[in-house]
């Protein structure tokens, strides 16, 4: 991500330190993760201590300090999905991708994450891949869905 674009984002928030989280979220959304150079630039421009940025990017779940995979796999582990067997979907995803929730595989193919509730409780258990919702999914179907991604 180039410095100019980062500056644009910071400027759109009038360079205010109180917008630190909003600025980081925008960089995260555009770039998929937060590279060191981006954090340095934000720190310089907003004049906030490194320690505060460090704490924020590790406190909030939305931020990633490492590159993400090409496909974002989200398993809903909200209560409704949990009682309808989300754990078994998660087990299956972890088995197929070979990584645990919160990780990205070495080929940068999948990033796997559990999410609190995506608000489609009628469809539980729910698996989301790149924003597409697969509802009332079974472990067998999970395998088929993941295999369809390159």
């Amino acid at each position: 991500m180039d410095i100019e674009r980062i500056d644009q984002i910071i400027d759109s928030h009038r360079g205010e330190a109180s917008s630190l989280i909003q600025i980081l979220l925008e960089i995260q959304r555009e770039n998929g993760w937060l590279p060191r150079e981006a954090l340095d630039r934000v720190r310089e421009r907003l004049q906030v201590p490194v320690s505060r940025i460090q704490h924020i990017v590790t406190f909030y779940k939305a931020f990633s300090l490492v590159p993400r995979g090409r496909h974002q796999v989200h398993i809903c582990v909200g209560t409704a999905c949990h009682v309808r067997g989300a754990t078994r979907i998660l087990d299956k995803v972890e088995e197929i991708t070979g990584i645990k929730a919160g990780e990205t595989d070495l080929d940068l193919k999948f990033s796997v994450e559990t999410v609190g509730c995506v608000g489609c409780c009628a469809l539980g258990p729910v698996l989301e891949v790149d924003g597409k919702t697969h509802g009332k999914i079974t472990p067998t179907e999970t395998a088929a869905v993941l295999k369809s991604y390159e």
Binding site: I21, Q22, I56, A62, V77, T79, A80, C117
Partner: protein, 642 residues
């Protein structure tokens, strides 16, 4: 649209919008809420657009992408006005028939109607369906009538009338008196009287005051705020501006959970349009009153639903709660007096102004007035959002509205109040729903999550699940929450794994007391509730896990075994092929046997076995019978024996 700068012009604009609309012309409303979209509503909307054009009806028929009406179980939901014909589970291939039959010929497409499972009767109108019939929908009812991306839709149903009234006909004291008369309590969790919060912030010294809409709906299994943000953002905005004028604030914030992109989008559009119309920003409706709002996205931290943590997050800091007092009403955002209310609370305000506080208070129980939206999920036939009067019984919600438990299973408990709520057992289904009533039963209202659990749900696992969630989400600042929950989680996990020890319950009780009494914020103080309430009503399940290493619900993976009953097995090979670890022996005409040493308890075979055979059994707390000897495994079809 030119800015509207007087109440008369607002009324005129409304009349103009209505005059442009033909009340008898057909309008196809399709729910474009997150649930229906996941069911494929986008494709249905596209199909309607194409079909209407194909049949040359574009000018006469209005197609609306609306908010969530609540019946997520049967999405995509389509309602056709003015007749209010309700079609459920509509697929793109149904669309040509709907357009040619219902729109053109005014005939009903029978197969898309709701069929009552007990009486087999069909319901044509939304209001005939038991799911809706037994609700009292004051807030969520507008969702299906409007496209939230179009302000005119909101104006057409009387939107911003309450604001106009507040700005030109009422004093701030009048508004406060009305809110006080309504006895409205905060819908976000704690149920604090709204008027008292407003009055506190209003009376706090200082020129600058802030208002905040808490839209950080983080409870897993709850999505009512999302439905309002997506489906009717102007109602929230209108409530907020009314609050601002009453309290004396010129600046407000929406704090929206980042997992809700559609809510962010619709809210952004609503704010832009309100500004264009002169309903927000400088000199609102020509009254001289200024109010601006900004939208902040949450960044993924459940604790930010706690008001002091939310304020720190708005300031661009980690969301760690700070001690109260000082309360936000005195010292909140950037140390200025701040009033925070939840989405649903703000959405109730226009209603209270329009209908009057007394009318609002005529519904409900002694301590809880008005209606409340619940998200009814879990082991329930009709999953969805339900709006009911306070004081309705749990029984009515679960059976009359929710349609009971699917699959002929037995009801076990209903979990209310989000992760820090509690479980209420079958004996208390006659409990009237209200803030104080639920608290007395060991649970709480919370923001309105209602998760139904059936006989297959293990209550120890439910406690473990919520404590796990809260341990993950603890901010880590104070010891009783951070360390106490960590230890509670360790102990509960070992109990569900069959490694529970004598004394574990007592240890959990001590930790629960410490977290409850000594934690800094509401997250920690209420975190032990899932444990305490399950222990209160389901102690026998804890004892079974610890003393007998048995899970009565046959749910805890480490405590169950799968076994094929030889006399029921039809040697069909289905389970054998499904087993991912080749733990099933057998063949064609050879009774199948599970090799217990290889089995990982994944349950695939259990689900694969055709229900007419039902040959696979879960066992817990008892030894698995030895496999039948090789010699006896040849399968003989019984029907042919005779």
């Amino acid at each position: 649209m030119a800015r509207i700068n007087s109440p008369e012009k607002l009324e005129k604009a409304r009349q103009e919008i209505l005059s442009r609309r033909k009340p008898d012309a057909p309008c196809i409303s399709i729910c474009a809420g997150a649930g229906c979209l996941a069911f494929g509503a986008s494709e249905v909307i596209d199909a309607f657009k194409a079909e209407v054009e194909k049949q040359g009806l574009t000018v006469d028929v209005d197609i609306k992408k609306t908010g969530c009406p609540g019946f997520c179980e049967r999405g995509p939901v389509v309602v056709i006005f003015p007749e209010e014909i309700c079609y459920l589970q509509v697929k793109p291939q149904d669309v040509p028939e709907i357009v040619s039959q219902t729109i053109k010929e005014k005939k009903i497409v029978e197969r898309l109607l709701y069929v009552d499972p007990t009486t087999d009767e069909k319901a044509i109108h939304e209001s005939d369906i038991p799911f809706y019939k037994n609700q009292q929908r004051n807030i969520i009812c507008d969702n299906i009538k409007i496209d939230s991306k179009i302000l005119d839709d909101y104006l057409a149903i009387g939107g911003y009338e309450a604001l106009s009234k507040v700005l030109f006909q009422m004093s701030a004291d009048d508004v406060l008196a009305e809110v006080k008369a309504s006895q409205l309590r905060g819908r976000g969790g704690a149920g604090f009287p709204v008027w008292r919060k407003w009055e506190g912030t209003r009376n706090s010294p200082g020129e600058i005051k802030y208002l905040v809409v808490n839209a950080d709906e983080g409870d897993p299994g709850a999505f009512m705020d999302r439905a309002l943000l997506e489906g009717n953002p102007h109602s929230i905005l209108e409530g907020l501006i009314i609050g601002a004028h009453t309290i004396g604030s010129n600046e407000g914030y929406f704090y929206v959970r980042q997992e809700y992109p559609l809510a962010m989008e619709n809210l952004g559009i609503a704010i832009r349009q309100a500004k264009e119309y002169g309903l927000l920003g400088k000199d609102i409706l020509g009254s001289g009153f200024d109010f601006n709002v900004e939208v902040h996205r949450g960044a993924g931290a459940f604790v930010c639903g706690e008001e002091t943590a939310l304020l720190r997050s708005l300031e661009g800091k980690p969301g760690e709660p700070t001690p109260r007092p000082p309360y936000p009403a005195v010292k909140g955002l950037w140390e200025k007096p701040t009033n925070i209310n939840n989405v649903e609370t703000w959405a109730n305000i226009p209603l209270i102004i329009n209908k009057g506080g007394a009318a609002f208070a005529s519904t409900g129980t002694e301590g809880s007035k008005g209606t409340k939206i619940f998200s009814l999920v879990g082991k329930i036939t009709n999953t969805g959002l339900v709006e009911v009067p306070m004081g309705i019984t749990l029984n009515d919600i679960i059976y009359k509205i929710g349609g009971g438990i699917p699959g002929g299973k037995k009801f076990k408990a209903v979990q209310t109040g989000g992760p820090s709520g509690g479980c209420i057992p079958a004996e208390q289904l006659n409990l009237e729903v209200g803030f104080d009533e639920l608290t007395k039963a060991g649970s709480m209202m919370g923001s309105g999550g209602m998760i139904v659990l059936d006989e297959d749900t293990c209550m120890v696992d439910v406690a473990r699940y919520f404590i796990d969630f809260l341990t993950e989400e603890s901010c880590g600042k104070c010891v009783p929450c951070r360390e106490g929950l960590r230890q509670m989680h360790t102990i509960l996990t070992r109990i569900t794994r069959g490694e529970g020890r004598e004394g574990d319950i007592e240890l959990l009780e001590v930790l629960a007391e410490t977290a409850k009494e000594a934690s800094l914020c509401a997250l920690g103080k209420s975190a032990p509730n899932p444990f305490l309430s399950t222990l209160r009503y389901f102690r026998d399940e804890y004892d079974a896990h610890i003393k007998e290493k048995r899970c009565p619900a046959l749910s805890c993976k480490e405590l169950i075994s799968y076994y094929i009953e030889p006399d029921k097995c039809q040697a069909c090979m289905i389970c054998l092929k499904k087993c991912p670890v080749d733990a099933i022996e057998g063949g064609k005409k050879k009774i199948h046997v599970i090799i217990q040493e290889k089995c990982t308890n994944c349950g695939e075979c259990f689900e694969a076995c055709p229900s007419k055979f039902g040959a696979i059994k879960k066992l817990s707390g008892e030894p698995v019978p030895p496999p039948i000897p090789e010699a006896e495994r040849t399968f003989v079809k019984k029907s042919k024996e005779k």
